[in-house]
Every structure is written in structure tokens, then in C-alpha cells.
């Protein structure tokens, strides 16, 4: 299999180097287009006014926060089953980006909440589960940094994220259950019932931009991780950035 060739860090490092500019450029172009449509083309929301434009940041970051955790869990399975070091390195490279997106989703959610329903923070099911997701990211990052033996840190992190991802649906269900039990904090975050076509378009383009950005930044970070880990090997001494 040609793909397996790239599971070796020495083969993946140059490949990632070639891919980063492309994904970065895609993220930039999509981001500019998405922001343009979101800020200038999309019409004002007839209920919320201009402030609804926060969803063009809020929803994509929330999606990416969840999606990246899922991708990390898949890499975790690969790391434990096939013992590929690169999968674990990808997890380590993705985690900070996922945590940042999750934190941004919370931050923008708060800034959106204040003008629309009068409070920065409500213990709404979605906001609460996003907060818990942030805790899961923090736990993973803390664990991987605390274990000094890298090989062990890789596997421990992979197992933790798999256990966490199994728990995510349970946590989400329990928080929803808790939320319906305690009436009063239930808030519809769906942003009105009918979204104009341009609004949906702007949101999707921004989501794509965030996706491309995550890939670019994770690939760049995984390059740094590869070099840090493999600094004593011969191939690292022969790459063109070092000569």
C-alpha cells in the first residue's frame, strides 16, 4: 500500500511540508470569502439584527472542536492497533487546535448570548457539553505533557482519548437529560427557524476554512513534533532545512 509508506515519520515530514502551503492557502481564500459573505453579503437577521453574524464564527468553531476530537480518537485507534508513531504525533498536533476552537466556541457563544438572551453564560445543554469537551482536551494535553517517556505518553494519550470519545455521547445525553429536568435554562441556539441561503453559505464556507486551517496548522505542528522526536536520527540531519 502506497499510503502506508507515509506512516513513517521520515517520509511524512517532507510530504507534510509540501501540503502545508496548499491547505494554508485554501484556508486563507475560503476565510476571506466566508468573512466577506458573512459580513457584507448576508442580510440582517430580522429578529436578532446584526449581532447574529457571530454564528459565522461560533458554529464553525463549535463543529471543529467536536470534529477534531473525533479525528483524534480515530488516530488513537490507529496508534493503539497498528502501533504507528505518526498517528500519536498527529493526535498531539491536533489537540491544541481542537482546544482553541472549543474555547473560541465558548467565548463566542458567551458574546452572542449576552445581547440575544441577556446572559453571558447559561447552563444550556450544548454550552455545558462544549465546556466538558474543553475539559477533555485539557486532560489529554496535561496527561501527554506529564508523562516523560514519549512512547508511553503516546499510548496513554491515545487510550484516554478513546475512552473520552466513548464517553462523549453519554455525557451529551446526560447533560441534555439534566437540562430538560431543570427547566428554565433551555435556549434554542439554532439561530432562527429559516436561515437565508447566503447565511448558510457563509457558515459552510467558514466551516470549510476552519477545517483547512486545522489541517494546515496540524501538519505544520506535526512537522515540528517529528523533528523534536527524531532529532537523533540520521535522516533528520539530511533534510534540506538543516543542511
Amino acid at each position: 500500500m502506497a499510503l502506508f509508506k507515509y506512516s513513517a515519520p521520515s517520509a511524512f515530514y517532507p510530504l507534510a511540508g509540501k501540503l502545508v502551503p496548499w491547505f494554508g492557502a485554501a484556508a486563507f481564500v475560503l476565510g476571506v470569502v466566508g468573512l466577506y459573505i458573512g459580513l457584507f453579503v448576508a442580510p440582517e437577521d430580522f429578529q436578532q439584527g446584526e449581532v447574529y453574524r457571530i454564528i459565522f464564527i461560533h458554529v464553525p468553531t463549535a463543529w471543529m472542536g467536536m470534529f477534531i476530537y473525533l479525528v483524534m480518537a480515530m488516530y488513537g485507534v490507529l496508534a493503539l492497533i497498528y502501533q504507528t508513531r505518526l498517528s500519536a504525533m498527529m493526535m498531539e498536533a491536533l489537540a491544541p487546535t481542537g482546544a482553541i476552537f472549543t474555547a473560541l466556541a465558548l467565548w463566542t457563544g458567551a458574546l452572542w448570548g449576552k445581547p440575544t438572551w441577556g446572559t453571558y453564560w447559561a447552563w444550556d445543554a450544548r454550552m455545558t457539553s462544549t465546556l466538558i469537551l474543553l475539559f477533555l482536551y485539557i486532560g489529554y494535553i496535561a496527561l501527554v505533557n506529564a508523562i516523560e517517556d514519549k512512547k508511553r505518553a503516546d499510548k496513554a494519550g491515545a487510550l484516554l482519548v478513546i475512552v473520552g470519545s466513548v464517553n462523549v455521547p453519554i455525557i451529551y445525553f446526560s447533560v441534555k437529560w439534566w437540562n430538560t429536568l431543570h427547566q428554565g435554562a433551555s435556549i434554542s441556539v439554532s439561530g432562527g427557524n429559516k436561515m437565508a441561503m447566503t447565511m448558510l453559505l457563509a457558515m459552510l464556507i467558514m466551516a470549510l476554512a476552519c477545517w483547512m486551517y486545522s489541517i494546515a496548522v496540524a501538519l505544520c505542528r506535526v512537522r515540528a513534533i517529528i523533528l523534536e522526536r527524531e532529532r537523533h536520527t540520521q535522516w533528520v540531519r539530511e533534510i534540506k532545512e538543516v543542511r
Binding site: G139, A142, L143, A146, A156, L159, V163, N167, I170, S174
Partner: protein, 241 residues
């Protein structure tokens, strides 16, 4: 010294008639024997639970309606924290004196040994907490049926706390400042148990049927029973590699 002797006596490595499932009992019996020697720790965890719960009326004030309202949450959060504090006990000493490495070589499967260790841990942490909780509930003005549901909830929920906590305890073995880290890893995963457990008691307080909450706790218990011994043994193998 005597602990090491006990472990050798309780883990017979004989070639004949090894029944894998017996590993659960063998490990549980050995850990229980060790726990009985350090009863102080057991009492300390209980005392922590009692003190922690008693802090809330002092912080909030003795208004009985309010206390009754927050009682389920307070008792459950304190139970969570008390169990969290006892988690290092699960593997720490066995890790330090090398018994865990022997467990890997033992004829019994590692998941069975893990399950046995969890069983022993629950018998010496969750079970006493559940038994003690009605007294604390009385302090908060809970009545008979509420106390009943609280005990049943704790009996169903604390094993899950032990089981999930065992994965975390195995992951942080030998890591500096492992205790703090353990809380970071494990507490978010405890949230469903907390919600259903406290929710059951709150349901009774609100005059609603608590059985749905208890069934959900039971479901969590069964899932944890099936899955966590394997996850814990995987975590132990990673830690000992």
C-alpha cells in the same frame, strides 16, 4: 515487608487448574487483606467525605429549605471527591513494589485481576460511603424515601466511579503530580454518574418517580462492568511497558 509476603501467599502460581475467572476473586481477596491492614486510610476517606459535606451548611447557612434543596448535589459531589482521593490506592503500592509486573506474568488474565482490584476498592471506598450517606442526608433534612433513593443511587453509582477511576489511576502511574492530573482526567468522565445520581434524589424531592434515573445509573454500571476492566488492563500494560 509483610505486605509483600501476603501478596506472594495470595497469588499462587501453580500450573494446575487455573480458572481464568478466579483471578477476580484472587485479586480481590488479596487487595482486601492488604486494605484491612491499613484501615487508617479507609477511615480517612470516610472522614474526608463527612467533613467535606459538613462544610456546606457552614458556608451557605443553616436555612433548612435551601439545605434540603442542595443536599443531593452536595453529597454526590463529595462522594466523587472522596472516591477520587482513594484512587491512587488501587495500583500505586503494587506499582512501586513490582507486584503489578508480576500480575502481567500471572496465569490469570489481567482484566480479571483488574476487576478484582476494582471490586476490592469499591468494597473499601464506595460501599462505606453509601452506607454512611444517610447520616449526612439527615443533617440536611432529607426524609426516608429520599435517603433510600440516595443509598441505592450511591450503591449503583460508586462502582462506576471506581471503574472509570481505575483507568485514570493506571494511566497516571508513576507520573509526577499524578494526583492532580488524575482529577483532571477523571472528573469530566464522572459527570454522567453525578447527573443521574443526584438527579434521582432530586426527583424524589420534586415528587417525581426516580426510577428512570436509577435505571440509567444501572445501565452505566453494566457498561462500566463490561468495558472498564479491559481498558484498565490496556492502561496498565501501557504504564508498565
Amino acid at each position: 515487608m509483610s505486605a509483600a509476603n501476603a501478596s506472594n501467599a495470595a497469588l499462587p502460581i501453580s500450573a494446575r487448574e487455573i480458572i481464568p475467572e478466579k483471578g477476580v476473586l484472587v485479586a480481590a481477596r488479596r487487595d482486601l487483606a492488604l486494605a484491612m491492614r491499613s484501615r487508617g486510610e479507609l477511615v480517612q476517606a470516610l472522614a474526608f467525605f463527612v467533613i467535606c459535606v459538613s462544610l456546606f451548611p457552614l458556608a451557605i447557612g443553616p436555612e433548612s429549605a435551601l439545605l434540603k434543596r442542595i443536599a443531593p448535589g452536595v453529597v454526590w459531589v463529595c462522594a466523587l471527591l472522596a472516591v477520587l482521593l482513594t484512587l491512587p490506592r488501587l495500583f500505586q503500592s503494587d506499582y512501586q513494589d513490582g507486584t503489578l509486573e508480576q500480575c502481567l506474568l500471572s496465569p490469570y488474565p489481567l482484566p480479571a485481576i483488574c476487576l478484582g482490584k476494582m471490586l476490592s476498592h469499591w468494597l473499601t471506598s464506595g460501599l462505606p460511603l453509601a452506607v454512611l450517606s444517610p447520616v449526612l442526608g439527615l443533617q440536611f433534612g432529607l426524609g426516608g424515601s429520599e435517603l433510600m433513593v440516595m443509598v441505592v443511587g450511591l450503591l449503583l453509582g460508586t462502582p462506576v466511579l471506581t471503574a472509570i477511576g481505575a483507568i485514570g489511576a493506571a494511566l497516571v502511574l508513576g507520573v509526577r503530580s499524578g494526583g492532580m492530573l488524575l482529577g483532571l482526567l477523571v472528573l469530566p468522565l464522572y459527570i454522567p454518574v453525578l447527573i443521574f445520581g443526584a438527579g434521582a434524589v432530586e426527583a424524589v424531592l420534586a415528587g417525581v418517580d426516580p426510577t428512570a434515573n436509577l435505571y440509567l445509573l444501572a445501565a452505566l454500571f453494566l457498561m462500566a462492568l463490561v468495558a472498564t476492566p479491559y481498558a484498565t488492563s490496556a492502561a496498565l500494560k501501557i504504564a508498565l511497558d
